[in-house]
Amino acid sequence: MTGAFPGDASIYAGEWDRFFAILIAISAIIVAAIFIVIVGFSIRYRRGSKAKRGMLPEVITNELELSWTAATAIAFIFMFWWVAMTQLKNIIPPEHPLEIHVLAKQWMWKVQQPNGVREIDELHAPVGRAVELIMTSQDVIHSLFLPALRLKKDVLPGRYTYLWFTANKPGIYHLFCSELCGTGHSRMTGRLVLMTPADYARWSAAQPGAEDLAAAGAKIFGSLGCSGCHAPSSSVHAPDLNGVFGHKVQLADGRTVTADEAYLRDSILLPQKDVVAGFEPIMPSFRGIVDDDDMVKLMAYLKSLPSKRDQP
């Protein structure tokens, strides 16, 4: 029964099932114990039964009460510690994952593979390799739910949320939206297709529209006039974007922020929010001009810019 029902496509799912089974066992024991005690007392001490009543045994005193209070508290805190240990292990993201962008929109999932392949309501991913989903939503809160991997994460508008997994069993599994997002909420489902790395490589190469994201990003960078200010040769005093991604940036109001996707996205859409130290806030906002697909391309381009400090 376990595992067959929602399917288990990753080592984590297997661990999860064992952990769930142990919790079920503990609960079943406690429920059974209480059930037996209740039924036992009800039958044994029903009115007029011959069971011994008389004096109440001394053992039933406050100590008994305090002891089972302490026992329950210690048991629950132990359960918390045990749960936290497994959870801490899994919130550390994998090294160099395969980054797949997921865009949730009212009642469909738009997935963009690293090589630019686009899919609707389908998520193809290789097995045996760390995969990371960088997710955002265009309208309301959705939630990507992969029951076979025992994973779920809400997809919030205006912000990136992340989900990472390392699958180990190819196959076709469910993909649900699990946060109420409107009329088509129950139709916003799809397929998680896990393939062996070879099949995945063959599949992604064969897809139409496979183009280098970074190259597409460079074209947009030029067409929107970003290069007009940010190119080293330009006369305008604007921050140099080479190798900016992943490094620390000193801001005008004294804060130091790490240039992650969220920072780059905010700098493009809300430039006044985090102005770089030593620069005037003259950058226009590109909100409404750069949509989420172009954002993914621009992001890929900015990540690909070589940093002077460490040559790739």
Partner: protein
């Protein structure tokens, strides 16, 4: 004059017990009001944490003059309400009536000054929405809180003025005895509304002045 309603109400064994219950009940209600406005203050604090710069830009648009005069008016009304309760405790009917009337007048003056300020704010186009005057989008969040917080406070103040007017009229007409337990409760409510404004002043008017 219709007969005076009894001081001692239905379930109470003694007036002293009833008086204590009215105060206690009002304090429990005040705890719920603190959490009602507390929810709004949490939202304000979170958004100020997320975008402090926009809050500074937006807060400079509020008019400190109006804010300060209004605070002074409300503090004075607290004084007159406190004196009304002192008078009621000692049975000085005329003094209590005059203090309650002063409280009502001060409350109305506050509302009028607030109205003038609202008129100026609307003229400056500070109602959050598509055609909002200030530039960074997050300033609309500050002004959304400005309108909601001062609006809610004005509603609470108007309810306060209404209740104080009722007990003043009934006291003047004699249908409410001077020893009634209502005064203490109404005074506590009035001081609550004043305390909320005291907290609102630094939140809305004194941000980003330096």
């Amino acid at each position: 004059m219709s007969e005076t309603s009894p001081v001692l109400r239905e379930p109470w064994p003694s007036v002293a017990r009833q008086r204590m219950a009215v105060s206690f009940g009002m304090w429990v209600f005040i705890a719920s009001e603190v959490l009602f406005f507390g929810g709004l203050f949490l939202a304000y604090a979170v958004y100020r944490l997320l975008d402090a710069e926009a809050f500074r830009i937006a807060a400079r648009e509020t008019d400190v003059f109006y804010g300060t005069t209004n605070t002074a008016i409300l503090l004075t009304s607290s004084l007159t309400m406190a004196m009304a309760v002192h008078g009621a405790e000692r049975g000085f009917r005329r003094m209590t009536i005059r203090c309650l009337e002063a409280t009502i007048v001060l409350g109305l003056v506050f509302i009028v000054v607030k109205g003038l300020e609202y008129h100026d704010d609307l003229a400056k186009g500070l109602w959050p929405g598509p055609d909002f005057a200030l530039h960074p989008a997050a300033t609309q969040l500050f002004w959304a809180f400005y309108w909601i917080a001062t609006g809610l406070h004005a509603v609470h103040l108007s309810i306060g003025i209404g209740i104080v007017s009722v007990i003043t009229i009934r006291l003047a007409r004699g249908t409410l005895p001077i020893q009634a337990t209502a005064f203490e409760g109404v005074a506590l409510y009035w001081h609550l509304v004043d305390t909320i404004w005291i907290i609102l002043l630094p939140m809305l008017y004194l941000v980003g002045r330096a």
